[in-house]
Symmetry: C2
Subunit: 226 residues, 2 copies
DNA sequence: GTAGGCTGAATTGTTGACAATCGTTTGAGG
DNA sequence: CCTCAAACGATTGTCAACAATTCAGCCTAC
């Protein structure tokens, strides 16, 4: 039995949060076929709110549902994971450009301070890439909201990041290049601070492209098996 | 009372389709506050499947729902509509590039044939921009699926296009430049046929950028009031 | 021995009734 | 006359029982 992470305003919200974190954290393995009644007893819910949450999750592509046949967690292939990074490349590139145009000075200062925190975290917890992964998520999160493009932020935060994080937890992808990534983050923020949208977009696209190539290399080497 | 557009496999699917088309077609005006029981009698449904569909639609951003306070159709401002086109620019640019890399020859031939059909439509129904709008939708639809990027196609077809179409029906935006748009379409397909991904991306981005500027101009002129 | 169809059980989809919450209206007080 | 508060009404959120469909196992036929 798992409790709700945030105080949800309704049972359906609670169910949605529970299931989402369960999927992202890997408590519900990809491809796993799950019954509704089992989920109900596991999360202390009734089937009404649960079904509502299942509908939302299906619409977001985190699970697939065949009529009368049950639901199962979506399983993303290696090729599809790389495709995800291709989408991130162009969307976050746009986010960086618009953040350079619109992000308030105060938020930029906060973001710089956050990067310092990340640096300390990396130095302290050497090798523990987990913090770096969380820090990386935080960075991209702030850029997305900083773009002041409602729909763009919604698509990045609501759709893409959850799917990417799903594999972050499992593989700790960016292990090995924490300092490198941090340096790239810094240069992106510098470009945003100088209100150079074109440069910010270029740097962000290159940053994500590098991350993608890193994953691709590991897959080719057989280190990552998906 | 409105019937389901496609044969849905379940009541919830039916509800989802009905509501989606109703919102897109404008039968449910933006900002309109609607009660659940009213929707039930209108679409011949019970509240269970309806609520499931509402959850899906909320997750897709077509309506907003406050607990115990009812649901209302989302109302997009002029600024947000332009932001949508910014997102389309980068995402469909990527779609065009990947379509150039992966779209089968047969699909490309079909697409070319479709363009010929569009041309006849424009010549026959002079000034009636409706057909052009539908044709335009068809074109972008095919490029998206042609990219063979599952998530990209899902995001374009499932999220963005419905919001754009919502305003197409109301404003018939691209009225006035049907032949221009068709020519741009042709050049994009030519680039795809020649497997020139870089050029296809460039042309697609410019095409959507032109459409955005067209809308922006009309808004400034006061022709379009949103 | 294998392929095909059939029956039964389990699971999902649906329905209607019940409980909780919010908005509105009405009344009293300043 | 205006403001604030409380109760009413309406609407949403939740629940448990019913109906429909699929899947698995078994039997039969070839």
């Amino acid at each position: 039995m798992i409790q709700a992470p945030l105080q949800a305003q309704t049972r359906a919200d609670e169910a949605f949060d529970c299931l989402q974190t369960a999927i992202v954290k890997g408590d519900l393995a990809p491809g796993e076929k799950i019954g509704e009644v089992e989920l109900c007893s596991r999360f202390n819910l009734t089937r009404g709110p649960l079904r509502e949450a299942l509908g939302r999750l299906e619409s977001r592509g985190l699970l697939v549902r065949r009529p009368h046949a049950g639901v199962k967690v979506v399983s993303v292939s290696a090729a599809e994971l790389l495709e995800l990074y291709r989408i991130r490349e162009v969307m976050e590139g746009l986010a960086a450009r618009q953040a350079a145009e619109r992000m308030p000075d105060e938020e930029i200062r906060d973001l710089l301070a956050t990067l310092d925190t990340h640096e300390r975290m990396i130095e302290e917890a050497q090798g523990q890439a987990y913090y770096q992964a969380e820090g990386d998520y935080d960075f991209h999160h702030r850029i997305a909201t900083g773009s002041r493009n409602t729909k763009l932020a919604q698509m990045l935060l609501g759709d893409l990041y959850y799917m990417v994080r799903m594999y972050r937890y499992r593989l700790s992808t960016s292990a090995g290049r924490p300092h490198l990534a941090l340096g790239e983050h810094r240069r992106i923020v510098e470009a945003i601070a100088q209100r150079d949208g074109e440069l910010a977009e270029f740097l962000m696209k290159r940053h994500i492209n590098a991350a993608r190539q890193n994953i691709e290399k590991k897959i080719d080497e057989g280190v990552l098996t998906i």
